[in-house]
């Protein structure tokens, strides 16, 4: 407990968290500070490119671990199962309609790549290694949750002709969405070019990485803060509680999977973080197409306004402490 607190405190005064808090506070104070959309997108491309490539290069360096395939499979299963748990919690804790609840559930099965990046950077500050292929696990966990949610909607509301529309076009869009393609593509290129390739571009993707992450989290703080301020009337206590409880529940599922797979301490902690995190890029876009009746303010506010800040500030140190305590790492 003590170590969690001191770790949380240490995490809270790292530059990346402080810039997130700065953005959050600026949005609440209604400052006009803002990052242009193109710059924000450019930074997100940079982050996906960098973590994908580094993951691939690390796999190339350490050899393909026998648990790689199993870990990816575990990720797919987790992503598909978590929405069902989320749905059950939502029906108990909140008064959301079936469609709104399913849309929210999809977000919690999927993952937030920035939370993953922040966790990786906490890991490296703590001097812990992790499996390079966790990046591939992250990519594999993006999509299955969406299918689970659509299935939930179809089941809950078999008569409503509108909802849960899944067609070939949407399936292609989900599986080939920009962030998955860039992440997996960079991972493969990093794997092919290995240490040689990494040496060539290290001063672009390794050394400035933390700084770009600070600026990006400033923007995330601004967006999350602005969203929360605009939609605070939606935040009933039940919803708020779900936004904090669900990541903890998810992290325990991730813990189980990580231990079963025999991952390193860092790998277990990243598996917990992935399961705990909620999507705010790929899934919202898919929901606008597949479940247009669901209210975007609800799922965006929950995942970006509550769960993302929670994971960033308190969740990550908690997951690390638990992973360390249990694996003895």
């Amino acid at each position: 407990m003590d170590s969690i607190l001191s770790l949380a405190a240490q995490n809270l005064i790292s530059p990346i968290i402080l810039f997130f808090v700065l953005g959050f506070a600026a949005a609440f104070a209604r400052s006009d500070l803002s990052v242009p959309e193109a710059v924000a997108k450019g930074m997100s491309l940079y982050l996906l490119f960098a973590i994908g490539f580094k993951g691939g290069a690390s796999v190339a360096a350490h050899g393909i671990d026998e648990t790689l395939i199993l870990s990816i499979l575990a990720g797919v299963v987790l992503s598909f199962v978590l929405p069902f748990i989320a749905m059950a919690l939502l029906r108990v804790m909140t008064g959301l309609s079936a469609v709104d609840a399913a849309a929210v559930a999809a977000h919690y099965g999927s993952i937030s790549i920035v939370t993953f990046v922040a966790a990786s950077s906490v890991l490296s500050t703590a001097g812990l290694m992790s499996e390079g292929y966790m990046v591939a696990v992250a990519a594999a966990m993006e999509a299955p949750a969406i299918l689970a949610a659509l299935w939930l909607v179809a089941r809950a509301d078999a008569k409503s002709g509108q909802g849960g529309g899944m067609d070939a076009g949407l399936l292609r869009e989900i599986l080939l969405n920009g962030s998955i393609v860039l992440l997996i593509g960079s991972f493969i290129i990093g794997g092919i070019t290995g240490q040689d390739g990494l040496d060539k571009i290290a001063s672009f993707i390794v050394s400035p990485f933390q700084g770009v992450l600070c600026l990006f989290l400033l923007d995330m703080g601004l967006v999350a803060g602005r969203g929360l301020r605009n939609a605070r009337h939606l935040l009933k206590p039940g919803l708020f509680a779900f936004g904090v409880l669900m990541p903890l529940v998810g992290s325990l599922m991730g813990l189980g999977a990580g231990l079963a797979l025999g991952l390193s301490t860092g790998g277990v902690m990243l598996m917990m973080t992935l399961s705990a995190s909620a999507s705010y890029i790929a899934v919202p876009a898919a929901m606008r197409v597949a479940l247009p009746e669901a209210n975007p303010s609800i799922y965006l506010t929950l995942s970006l306004g509550i769960t993302f800040p929670f994971n960033l500030t308190l969740g990550i140190p908690i997951y690390l402490a638990i992973a360390r305590a249990i694996t003895g790492g």
Partner: protein, 104 residues
């Protein structure tokens, strides 16, 4: 330059629906349209802004389509089939004229 009577439909729709809408238009034989970016907006589903956003989910585009008054039927039907389940749509029709040949 000769002017013809034409209609101008303007559809404000989620950015993620762009391909679906343009494919529906092209399928309906409508090959002329222009897509404008939208910065921010407000409607029944609340206020939003593109500032700092990464996801395409939180944004709209503005599709402008000018077509001769004779072809209105299929255009509207095709567009509306895509558009109708979405809450965030505004269709406006104005009388206008356009350079001959650029309409279909």
């Amino acid at each position: 330059m000769e002017m013809h009577k034409a209609k101008r439909v303007e559809i404000t729709i989620e950015a993620v629906m762009e391909t679906r809408l343009t494919e529906a238009l092209i399928k309906a034989g409508v090959t002329g349209f222009t897509i404008l970016p939208v910065l921010a907006g407000s409607g029944r589903s609340g206020q939003w802004s593109r500032e700092g956003q990464v996801s395409r989910a939180g944004g709209m585009i503005n599709v402008v389509c000018i077509y001769s008054t004779r072809t209105s039927g299929p255009l509207l039907t095709a567009a509306f089939a895509v558009v109708s389940p979405h809450r965030v749509v505004s269709v406006r029709i104005v009388k206008c004229c356009a350079q001959s040949g650029s309409l279909k």
